[in-house]
């Protein structure tokens, strides 16, 4: 059943006039996943070192120290920013848009090498390019969610700029997280279009996100008030998502749809916890680790676990076969987070143990994805064998 002639017809309709030279495209396809995996692994190693887990590494290597020092930049900009930029480049289908994730991935690479200035400014360039990509998407489709994605891109620019000029984490973290939260919020808003939505839903989301951005801006000036406002916005967002998100319906289906909804809803729980912890930290309570990782792992990583099954086929051309095994790393993530945050409030050792198990959960997730890719090929070859 050869379909090459049909494919040519389709490709000419789909991507007419927008193809990069083959060697360049091939290099990008090889380099991007490598940069993403590097950022994720370095981010995990750096995080484990920061929390006091002993990681078996050679004493002479300099990169673990860099990974620990730049943990936030690597995870939020180097890893997450690159992944989001790849998604948007795939959506826009303009070859030049892949430069944004290449630059942000390279930025993380240079941070690890020990060239923080180069790394930071590459990140700024990446975010600016990414903003241009989002402007073009708004031109293609002017809708609330595309505008929100653009605002998220600008938040990334601000975060990377503050990082490049040497501001500390009290200034940069709110903007980096705002980039992620706005991106996720925009996509969830787009999904809710399918439901008959309360007319107040759109405006209340915009108001909540405006408060979030206000808190981010204020954090550079007043850590206490900015942080309280920011934390409150995160809680409000969790409430909004729990009330309006489509996951409330799709959780009652089965299979992959239900799994995605479970990832989303459990993520919203951690978003609320993160908001509480963030506001509490701003008032002086020692809950910084809890706030950052409830948000980064509990909320953002639950989103990643839920969406990998649809995003990886789109950006990496890897088909995945869903199975209930995917609940294992999800459960591992949430249980280890409870240990990290709950036990960690009592004892640093428990916090470190929780963090170690967080890393293990991510590793198990990666293995589950690999098994799902293999499983798809097995499934597909069985179907092909059965076909007449």
């Amino acid at each position: 059943m050869t379909q090459s002639s049909r494919r040519d017809a389709v490709h000419s309709q789909r991507g007419a006039g927008h193809t990069a030279p083959a060697p360049l495209a091939a290099a990008t396809r090889a380099l991007l996943p490598a940069l993403v995996i590097l950022a994720l692994l370095a981010g995990i190693v750096g995080g484990l070192l920061r929390v006091g887990v002993i990681v078996p590494l050679t004493a002479h290597a300099a990169w673990p120290g860099q990974a620990a020092h730049f943990h936030a930049a690597i995870m939020l900009s180097g890893f997450l920013g690159t992944v989001i930029a790849v998604e948007r480049a795939v959506a826009l289908k303009l070859p030049a848009s892949f430069l944004a994730p290449l630059l942000s991935g390279a930025g993380a690479f240079f941070l690890l090498l020990g060239y923080p200035a180069i790394g930071a400014w590459l990140g700024v360039a990446a975010a600016v390019l990414f903003t241009c990509v989002n402007i073009m998407l708004v031109q293609r489709q002017r809708a609330p969610h595309t505008v929100l994605l653009l605002v998220g891109a600008i938040a990334w620019v601000i975060g990377n700029l503050l990082f490049a000029i040497g501001r500390d984490s009290t200034a940069t973290l709110p903007w980096w997280f705002a980039f992620a939260v706005l991106t996720i919020g925009a996509e969830r808003l787009e999904m809710t279009r399918l439901m008959r939505r309360n007319r107040a839903a759109g405006p209340t989301l915009y108001a909540t996100l405006a408060v979030l951005l206000g808190g981010a801006a204020a954090s550079a000036v007043s850590f206490t008030w900015g942080g309280i406002v920011y934390g409150a916005a995160l809680i409000l967002l969790a409430v909004w998502l729990s009330m309006f998100d489509i996951a409330r319906r799709t959780v009652r289906t089965h299979g992959l749809s239900r799994y995605m909804a479970v990832c989303l809803l459990s993520g919203y729980f951690w978003l609320a916890i993160a908001g509480l912890a963030w506001a509490a930290t701003a008032t002086g309570l020692p809950l910084r680790d809890a706030a950052l990782h409830a948000l980064g792992l509990g909320f953002i990583f639950s989103m990643i676990m839920g969406h990998a099954l649809v995003i990886l086929p789109a950006v990496a051309r890897i088909r995945l076969r869903y199975s209930a095994w995917f609940y294992v790393p999800l459960a591992a993530l949430h249980l280890s987070l409870m240990l990290r945050l709950g036990g960690g409030a009592l004892d640093w050792g428990l916090r470190a143990a929780g963090a170690g198990l967080n890393a293990l959960a991510i590793l198990v997730f990666a293995l589950t994805v690999a098994a799902a890719a293999a499983g798809w090929h097995v499934f597909q070859s069985r179907i092909d064998a059965r076909a007449p």
Partner: protein, 159 residues
């Protein structure tokens, strides 16, 4: 009773499909006009809104069932609905061994577009006669809106 045809039911996991014969039974049970005495080879035109699983279609009557079956098996798992239920199929035209599909997506920022289009091509290739040329065109006008959703999709989404 559209048991198999309800969003979230068997047909939407992509593995259980309603054979065309069963589709007619379901349609008849729901009082929908799927049998009007036409010959299988007659060219028919139908319009979105005529029936719940319908979209603008021009082509041999015999192929409407397989085409519908193929398209409703392409699902967006994020919303647990088929692309037909969401209302993304703007039209299917089959003439002279060539099948042209015009469709849209709800979001221009969505990276999954190519995957959905590939799914459409793959399912149609299975359903249509061998050698049929399949071309899928993605358009952004007219912009998708919630009116294009099927009735069962609206029920599932709480309309």
């Amino acid at each position: 009773m559209r048991i198999n045809a309800c969003p979230g039911g068997g047909v939407y996991d992509g593995r259980n499909r309603i054979p065309p014969g069963e589709q007619r039974e379901i349609a008849r049970a729901c009082g929908l006009p799927m049998d009007n005495g036409m010959d299988d080879n007659d060219i028919i035109s139908s319009h979105a809104g005529d029936e719940d699983f319908n979209f603008p279609y021009q082509g041999p009557r015999a192929l409407l069932g397989p085409v519908t079956e193929a398209l409703i098996s392409v699902i967006d798992p994020e919303v647990a609905l088929s692309i037909v239920d969401v209302g993304l199929i703007y039209g299917v035209t089959i003439t002279d061994g060539k099948a042209d599909v015009v469709m849209t997506m709800t979001s221009a920022a969505c990276p999954v577009t190519d995957v959905i289009i590939e799914d459409v091509e793959r399912e149609l290739a299975k359903a249509l006669p061998a050698g049929t040329q399949i071309a899928v065109e993605l358009v952004w006008e007219p912009a998708w809106n919630t009116d294009m959703m099927s009735n069962s999709a609206k029920i599932f989404m709480g309309w």
